[in-house]
Amino acid sequence: MDRTDEKSFSCVVNGEYTVLTGADTTPAIVALRAHGLFSVRETCGIGVCGTCTVLLDGEPVSACILPLYALDGRTVQTAEGLEEGGELSDLQQQFIASQAFQCSFCTPGFLMSGQALLDGTDGPLDDEAIEDGLQGHLCRCGCYAAIKEAVRECSAARTCSRAGARG
């Protein structure tokens, strides 16, 4: 990359004003990881697998094909932003209770889509709604049932606000 292409982009990442640097079309995942946000993970690099899912203004998107300039002035959330003061969010805790992972590489992506689904709905979610919300996340460890259970349990309890939003 030509150094003259480097620019600064201001955005709010996990609640904090942040300046990310890179070229306009640097994939957002590259800048976020350079910022130390290693929950954003690249697997397929073509927007299919879901491991790089972040929330852009609250909506799940694939950071691997998201150009960096698209973050300018926007709000970004990653799995690092789910916990607060060292306390895991309810959805994260439910993932542990439901044993919703094996290798855990896909987990941050599932958490982000799961949280967005919970944030955008009320009451207990049925299987169809959960499938819809977790669509496009490929987990090769075979935890689909447990992941769905975690989201279902959380939706039934409906205490799954993010740690930061609880008080």
């Binding site: 306009d24 079309t25 909506e59 799940p60 998107v61 150009p67 669509q135």
Partner: protein, 290 residues
């Protein structure tokens, strides 16, 4: 390489005119970012539409729906009004890729990329969609069927921009459907998709039958002579078998990772029959994954 982010359509057209052939337009970036990351295109300059809020509008008029080029597939899918007015388009858009892609992908980008392996263009073709193309001092409406010319090719000239698409409201008596056959994962592109539109007169005879095939040819595939021949016919198996046979005979499908050409040719006939059957007997308009 730099990205310019104009705030008006007029400024966008000026930048496109100044930029020449190595300037590309980027909206959601779901197609272009993939191509750039894989070294398939290396534009010198991009003009982003992300600040053109004037193009992010849905307008439901008495006789048509107008979708600004920047309207995302996700917002089409989520609109309760569009689910009522254009139920099959709304449902078919919901079958595209995954929701992260649909959140970024735009309707203008969908038609302008002219990807053959895409669901919406076939549905839009059967609905009589027109594309609004503007340049400096020029503007024209082009039927989507003429706008798309080949694999990833449209009639767009350098310096021109798609600002919106217009979809006539289907006749109140028309039934529409889209069948998406996938041969690999649930979020895959169509191996073959078939969009059908069937309208009947008060005596139950066909007045307006339209069928377009997605994913198998360079652009949505139609055999207008076969569907025109249905006019006045009873909407029954005999009529649909004839249309299906005509489509299967006439199509020269691509062979790729989603299916061989011979396989797609066979599937086309079967799906055309089923789509027409569904549209003429079903109680709900919609899109279905097979």
């Amino acid at each position: 390489m730099q990205v310019l982010r104009p705030q008006t359509t007029a400024d966008t057209l000026r930048l496109l005119a100044d930029g020449g052939e190595d300037t590309k337009i980027i909206a959601g970036g779901t197609a272009l970012m993939l191509m750039m990351r894989n070294g398939l295109v290396m534009p010198e300059q991009l003009v982003s539409l992300d600040r053109l809020s004037e193009l992010d509008r849905v307008t439901v008029e008495p006789d048509a729906v107008r979708l600004g080029a920047l309207v995302s597939l996700r917002s089409i899918e989520r609109s309760a009004e569009l689910a009522t007015v254009l139920p099959t388009l709304s449902a078919a858009v919901g079958l595209v890729a995954n929701h992260r892609i649909r959140q970024r992908a735009t309707i203008g980008g969908c038609v302008s990329e002219a990807d053959y392996a895409s669901d919406p263009p076939a549905v839009l073709t059967t609905l009589g969609c027109e594309v609004h193309v503007v340049g400096i001092g020029t503007q024209r409406w082009i039927p989507l069927s003429e706008f798309l010319v080949d694999y990833y090719q449209t009639v767009l000239q350098p310096g021109e921009l798609v600002t919106e698409v217009r979809i006539p409201r289907p006749s109140p008596t028309a039934r529409t459907t889209y069948l998406k056959y996938i041969s690999r994962s649930a979020e895959d592109r169509p191996c073959v998709g078939v969009a059908a539109h069937v309208d009947l007169d008060s005596s139950g005879r066909c007045t307006d039958v339209r069928v377009a095939v997605a994913g198998a040819t360079a652009t949505p595939f139609t055999v207008v002579a076969a569907t025109e021949a249905c006019r006045g016919a009873k909407p029954d198996k005999t009529a649909w078998d004839e249309v299906a046979a005509a489509y299967s005979a006439a199509i020269s499908p691509i062979g790729d990772a989603r299916g061989s050409a011979a396989y797609r040719k066979h599937v086309t006939g079967e799906l055309v029959r089923r789509a027409l059957q569904t549209a003429s007997t079903g109680t709900e308009n919609g899109a279905f994954r097979l």
